[in-house]
């Protein structure tokens, strides 16, 4: 792990396109401002983990008894 010390308002650059700025330090909380290209996904770690875990659990669910009929969805939207 690379460990850097930054002051309020200072920036860390990750690669050419991503910057992380320290916006505010209050008690044990730090506010960070992140700038990155739109295709770089940025998540809070706990949110990322929760979604990954849910995806994995959903993949293990017993959906087989409801095995699909072979009728692929085409371009049309569901009409509610």
């Amino acid at each position: 792990m690379l460990i850097l010390t930054r002051k309020l308002g200072e920036v860390i650059r990750v690669g050419d396109a991503v910057t992380v700025r320290v916006l505010e330090v209050k008690g044990n909380q730090v506010r960070l401002g992140i700038e990155a290209p739109a295709d770089v996904r940025i998540y809070r770690e706990e949110v990322y983990r929760a979604i990954r875990r849910e995806n994995e659990e959903a993949a293990l669910g017993q959906i087989d008894p409801l095995a699909p009929a072979a009728t692929p969805w085409r371009k049309q939207l569901d009409r509610n």
């Binding site: 993949a59 692929p72 371009k75």
Partner: protein
């Protein structure tokens, strides 16, 4: 000769997926959905197809992986089950129609169904490109209970 040519055409325009879980299906190319980034935590699954369940209209679909044939999800249309949900999605990135789906987790003992409303799937109907969006900072849960799947829950 004409028959052979037709078969060749069919062969190039469809993908056959052989799955121990879901059986063997031939998916026409125009039904393939591309998730360039995969799903969160499953980046290697980039191509899917949607299957309708047997037996009449249903709020559910199956999202089945082409790359990992035994990977499949039960999904639902969250906007149908929770009408207020659509308004909370960010404005469509493209101009066209977008299909919104939520992955449903099926748990046993007791059997429960929950929908992941925190990370819906958005599919552009024109390009058939999709991605799993994360509604960070929203009040939605990864485990919204589906008590009566055919009955939309009352207002939240």
């Amino acid at each position: 000769m004409a028959e052979a040519a037709r078969q060749e055409l069919t062969a190039t325009a469809a993908v056959t997926v052989q799955s121990a879980r879901f059986g063997t299906h031939t998916v026409p190319e125009e039904c393939i959905l591309t998730f360039a980034e995969g799903l969160v935590g499953i980046p290697q699954a980039t191509r899917f197809w949607l299957a309708e369940p047997a037996g009449g209209p249903s709020p559910f679909r199956y999202l089945l992986s082409i790359d990992l044939p035994d990977l499949g999800f039960l999904v639902c249309d969250p906007c149908q089950l929770w009408p207020a949900y659509a308004a909370e999605l960010p404005a469509a990135e493209g101009a066209g129609d977008v299909q919104v789906l939520a992955i449903v987790t099926v748990r046993d003992e007791p059997r429960t169904l929950t929908a992941n409303l925190l990370a819906p799937l958005l599919i552009d109907c024109e390009t058939r490109r999709g991605r799993q969006l994360v509604l960070d900072g929203s009040r939605y849960s990864t485990r919204q209970p589906l008590t009566q799947p055919t009955d939309p829950p009352a207002t939240r």
